[in-house]
Amino acid sequence: MKKFILCFFSLFFISLSTQAMTVVEGYKKLQSYSYKDLEVTKDQSEKVVGQKTSEMLNTIDQCVALVMKEKGNVPAEFMEEMVRVAVLTFQNDPLESSGELLVPLYKQYKPLLEKAIDHLPKKSAKDLRERIEGAIYEEIHGNG
């Protein structure tokens, strides 16, 4: 019984914490990330940068879930910020996982995502599109 109550409360709090993220909060969080966060310096080791990148990817993941939940009714700036951070993570994530995270949006709200990607510099936009399409291909055909 104790275990059940503990499990219930932990699940309740987890769901509460994920629900807590609003579009505005998500946007502010995305806006807070910059190129400097991913620079390896004396104060910022590779491990710290790796953790920061993980945090960015988690935020993108949450934001994607948010857009899906809102059925695409989010401001264009939100989408633009999301793709900006997605490209930013390429710098320290050799697997470029952010492309994979955007796949659900690409499948369901392609025009919305394409519009946001168009605001990126040409090379970044090309890289991100390739990575998303690569992730879709990988899902269908495997990686072996």
């Binding site: 790796g50 990817l57 050799p94 470029e96 996982s97 995270l101 992730a135 899902e139 990686n143 072996g144």
Partner: protein, 331 residues
């Protein structure tokens, strides 16, 4: 500050594609890269420079043989160039000098050890063998940094000792304090020549950017074939999904350390995996996703992860759950 070693005469076979540099400056941004020396080329060692800070060498070569047709950007026969030589990743294989027919060879020169001998001696911890004609250690070792004066000799011995220690820590089995110290079968796998060959080949041939489409499992299979870690005739050839690597490798005689009761609780994250282990992940969000696979390149958090690309540490890796840490105990 590099230490200039003396002129040496010896052959060298190049095992991987190397950059040729016009000077002995191998730092990034030196801008002295001349051409690529393709694998299979041969040359003669003209000069060596030892870098005490890194324990590596700069080797000046005269190219004597370049395989294949001459191409733009490739080294030509007769070119003289500097290459970087790391004892940890020895892409140069030093051979005994071949004497021209009828040419008299200076006996002193014949007795000179080569860089390969120096590195081998340091690696094995045996020191340099005295040559027949030499009365002192320094006499028999004119190419290396031993000098007849005792202070110089001591200093160089310390340098060599440092290299020896570095090599020991990097190439020896589980480092002291590691949880794998008490598991000789794991250390045996990690220390095997197959694992070393696989990691070395993967590090040389990895991509700088992930491909379109990404093909981690394809590349891991390639590295494993090249390092002779798996039988190329095996079923692993046709498997398209990385998450199936657990099943595929089991068929090749591998064990999953995460399922083995002997190693239960020892591996909580990828950093805990032993050197050379094949790490298999599944996607936690999407059951249809093929997952991910990579090879650990060193012990603990010193090691990176190599598949199609190289990751320096285990962050970031989102939506992935470690489901397999594969090693072969019978190596």
């Amino acid at each position: 500050m590099p230490v200039q070693a003396q002129e040496s005469v010896g052959g060298v076979a190049i095992k991987g594609n190397l950059f040729g540099h016009s000077t002995a400056d191998f730092q990034k941004g030196a801008g002295n890269t001349e051409f690529v020396i393709p694998a299979g080329s041969e040359g003669v060692v003209l000069e060596t420079v030892f870098f005490p800070n890194t324990g590596n060498y700069g080797v000046r070569l005269r190219i004597t043989k370049v395989p294949g047709k001459p191409r733009r950007g490739l080294a030509k026969k007769g070119d003289e160039t500097w290459v970087y030589y790391s004892p940890k990743e020895p892409w140069l294989h030093f051979t005994k000098p071949k004497n021209a027919k009828g040419k008299k060879v200076d006996p002193e020169e014949e007795n000179r050890p080569e860089v390969g001998d120096i590195v081998r001696a340091v690696k094995e911890g045996t020191g340099f063998k005295k040559k027949k004609n030499s009365s002192t250690e320094a006499d028999g070792c004119s190419t290396c940094e031993f000098r007849s004066t005792s202070s110089a000799q001591d200093g160089n011995l310390k340098d060599l000792k440092k290299i020896q220690d570095k090599i020991k820590t990097s190439s020896q089995s589980a480092p002291a304090g590691s949880q794998w110290v008490n598991y000789p079968e794991v250390a045996k796998y990690s220390d095997s020549s197959e694992v070393k060959k696989t990691i070395s080949y993967a590090m040389r041939n990895k991509r700088s950017h992930i491909g379109d489409p990404p093909r981690c499992y394809h590349y891991v299979k390639r590295w494993m074939y090249r390092g002779e870690l798996v039988d190329p005739e095996g079923k692993i050839v046709n498997s398209p999904n990385a998450k199936n690597a657990v099943r595929d490798l089991k068929e090749q005689g591998y064990i999953n350390m995460m399922e083995d009761p002997r190693y239960k609780g020892l591996i909580k994250n990828p950093d805990d995996a032993p050197k050379g282990a094949v790490l298999v992940y599944r996607n936690t969000r999407n059951a249809h996703h093929p997952g991910h696979v990579e090879i650990k390149t060193d012990w603990g958090d010193n090691g990176g992860y190599v598949a199609e690309v190289y990751r320096k540490n285990n962050q970031p890796l989102i939506n992935r759950e470690l489901i397999g840490v594969m090693i072969e105990e019978s190596l």
